[in-house]
């Protein structure tokens, strides 16, 4: 278990040297020191440690459900905790709630904007949040009455100064975490719409975020167009760790199930694994033949498999420990834009610019 670092450590100090030149020198010195400290502990590669682990055999995964109904590119999806409902959002401004077992549409909302880039299911299953080019995150309570107009009960929660790229409820329906093209992340109270904490540090659009599993405490990771992945303390707003090894925008970040690491997917066509206690990148998942960007990543329940949705329409499945690809999946007819494993790990769902969502399982 990692103990969170105390932010107070940074402020008890020797006075900072006043001139710009001195500060720049100190900044360069500290960056070098950081690199040295990280390098000292780099005694082995993850795949070397995993050499003795049995390799994975042939993986056959197939689409078992196809959800059709969006009129344009699917941009985002999220599972309900009940492991069967899914919310998805699209370029055409529609947000749809599906029963993935039956493929029936249970709710549909038309947003006042196009490009709804973010959507999330509330932990209770009683509401969904979404937003995009409207620069907001809105919450819609889901009614049992199919005839009720969902848009009438809409609650505007978050306000950014640029597009909403991602949103997630925290452990309850009461708070939402957002990331935005305005370069910030923010934590909001759903009931009052009040800004509880803002997170500044990215130098460009923030594209994605993921909350740490609840056992590991109040942190989250974000990824952005500045090629950085930042880990934040939700209470203080402080950036506690930062990783910059990708060569292009980071489109997706996802915690390893134990909370001790996270994976990222980037326009540089690689996925990477960063360990939080070693404070460094510990694996790169790439192949010369893979040249298109990764839009979304997620782990299987044990953390052994990493699923990546790519802009070349495929899904690549990686052995997290050995660093090798175990499967490539075809089916979508355009970019895979979003991918999530179901809460009980029985399936994963992908959304695509081909207007559909697919639910995949392992065939055995």
């Amino acid at each position: 278990m990692r103990s969170p670092l105390s932010p107070e450590m940074a402020t008890q100090e020797v006075p900072l040297n006043e001139t710009l030149a001195h500060l720049k020198t100190e900044s360069e010195t500290l960056k070098l020191k950081l690199e040295e400290e990280r390098a000292k502990l780099h005694d082995v590669e993850l795949h070397q440690v995993a050499e003795k682990v049995e390799g994975l055999g042939q993986f056959v995964m197939k689409t078992r459900r196809t959800l059709k109904g969006h009129g344009n590119k699917v941009l985002c999806m999220d599972w309900c905790k009940d492991k069967r409902r899914i919310v998805s959002s699209s370029q055409d401004g529609k947000v749809i709630v599906w029963d993935a077992f039956t493929t029936n549409k249970e709710h549909a909302v038309t947003m006042p904007c196009t490009w709804v880039m973010a959507c999330a299911y509330a932990p209770s299953g009683c509401a969904v949040a979404c937003g995009g080019l409207d620069n907001k995150c809105s919450v819609y309570p889901l009614s049992l009455d199919k005839n009720e107009n969902l848009a009438a009960k809409k609650k505007s929660v978050a306000m950014h100064t640029n597009y909403l790229s991602a949103c997630s409820f925290t452990n309850s329906d009461m708070q939402i975490l957002t990331s935005s093209g305005d370069g910030t992340c923010a934590l909001w109270d759903v009931e009052s719409g009040q800004l509880l904490q803002s997170f500044h540090g990215h130098a460009a659009d923030v594209l994605c975020l993921d909350l740490a599993p609840s056992e590991t405490g109040n942190t989250f990771v974000s990824g952005g167009c500045d090629k950085k992945a930042n880990v934040w303390d939700m209470r203080s707003g402080q950036c506690i760790q930062s990783f910059e090894t990708h060569e292009s925008d980071i489109n997706s970040v996802r915690y390893y199930p134990s909370g001790d690491a996270f994976a990222s997917g980037s326009d540089d066509a690689t996925c990477r694994l960063y360990d939080l206690r070693a404070d460094r990148e510990v694996a790169i998942y790439s192949k010369e033949s893979i040249i298109f960007g990764v839009s979304s990543v997620d782990f299987s329940l044990s953390g052994r498999l990493l699923f990546g949705g790519y802009n070349d329409y495929t899904i690549n499945v990686w052995d997290v420990l050995k660093g090798t690809r175990v499967s490539i999946l075809f089916g979508h007819e355009n970019r895979v834009s979003t991918l999530r494993v179901s809460p009980d790990g029985t399936a994963f769902c992908t959304g695509s610019w081909d207007h559909t969502l697919r639910v995949w399982i392992l065939m055995c």
Binding site: M9, K24, L34
Partner: protein, 68 residues
């Protein structure tokens, strides 16, 4: 004035770097071993890794009824 705001910005950068430089780190060998152990401990509970029989998998193919 632009030079004093640059100084304020640089102070923040230096403060952040001091903070990041001071954290405790573990060796990759130890961190990797723990990642691996977590995988091993949870492998049998991972349906996308070790599979589920089709009778218990909720996404088994939708059965089509036929009259015999």
């Amino acid at each position: 004035m632009s030079s004093s705001s640059s100084i304020v910005a640089m102070k923040k950068v230096v403060q952040q770097l001091r903070y990041e430089a001071s954290i405790n780190r573990v060796k990759v060998s130890q961190a990797a071993a723990e990642l691996q152990q977590f995988c091993m401990n949870n492998a049998t509970q991972d349906p996308l890794l070790t599979g589920m029989s089709s009778s218990t998998n909720p996404f088994r193919p939708q059965k089509v009824c036929s009259f015999l």
